[in-house]
């Protein structure tokens, strides 16, 4: 079972809440302070992507965030319920897209994979998820 589970309506204003909760739980779990900024950004990117997928797909289900504390590691899994197309069938941004909004999904994933070493992305017919894992530091000990 997840240490903390968060479900929120697929609305942009709730992404910040997810970031704050994830960072708070990560800190408690022992994720290094220097990495918390990355945790905050990565979970924000994953939630933003999920919100976008739900909104464009007209999906009323909430976005689900699982914060999982385990021995020596901390994981965040962001799940969406959007049906995912078979890879390779996606179309790129069209010429009538000056702000490149359709590219943001890829940009979000690019940021996540640039930030987090351990990422698993799954995309299936009934939904997808992004699972990110960070090591946690053991309790402080005196080093000689």
């Amino acid at each position: 079972m997840a240490t903390v589970e968060l479900r929120f309506s697929a609305l942009p204003e709730h992404v910040r809440t997810a970031r704050l909760v994830a960072a708070a739980v990560a800190r408690r779990a022992g994720v290094d302070e220097a990495v918390l900024d990355e945790v905050r950004l990565a979970v924000g990117e994953a939630c933003t992507r999920a919100v976008g997928l739900h909104q464009t797909g007209g999906i009323s289900a909430p976005v689900k965030v699982l914060l999982i504390e385990e021995e020596k590691q901390f994981s965040i899994e962001v799940g969406d319920e959007a049906p995912h197309a078979v890879p390779g069938e996606r179309t790129g941004a069209g010429p009538g897209d000056p702000d490149g909004e359709t590219e943001e999904d890829e940009m979000g994933l690019a940021v996540i994979s640039g930030l987090v070493d351990d990422v698993e992305v799954s995309a299936e017919e009934h939904g997808g998820s992004i699972k990110m894992t960070w090591p946690t530091t053991p309790p402080p000990t005196i080093l000689v």
């Binding site: 942009p12 204003e13 992404v15 910040r16 970031r19 900024d37 905050r40 950004l41 924000g44 990117e45 933003t48 919100v51 976008g52 000056p98 702000d99 490149g100 909004e101 590219e103 943001e104 940009m107 979000g108 690019a110 940021v111 640039g114 930030l115």
Partner: protein
């Protein structure tokens, strides 16, 4: 925290000072501001990000969109940023090669292509 925006004109440059968090919720406000400036004829923009606490890919998308708009008018979009955690996002995405990034507003205003 919300997003704060203010603008100031210095010669032919327009400084856009941004504060707070730029994410999926607040980025549309920044997009509106940039679109409005370009529509009003400001084609040389300096976006001062020293007051920005958080920036995600949605924010990057808005800045890229702003750059495309000013370039359509042979303009420029320069960034002012010294914060490592914000600069890191530009590096990860390769956007340090796309945006001129300056250490101060004065330096950005004085810069020419």
């Amino acid at each position: 925290m919300d997003l704060s925006l203010s603008t100031e004109t210095m010669g032919d440059r327009t400084i856009v000072r941004v504060g707070g968090e730029i994410d999926v919720y607040t980025a549309p406000k920044l997009r509106e501001q940039l679109v409005e400036l370009v529509n009003d004829g400001s084609f040389h923009l300096v976006v001062d990000m020293e007051g920005v606490d958080f920036l995600d890919s949605t924010g990057l998308g808005v800045l890229v969109g702003g750059l495309k708009r000013v370039r359509a008018h042979e303009g420029s979009l320069r960034l002012v940023c010294n914060q490592e955690r914000i600069l890191k996002i530009f590096r990860i995405t390769g956007l340090t090669k796309v945006f001129p990034i300056h250490t101060s507003v004065e330096e950005a205003v004085a810069a020419t292509d």
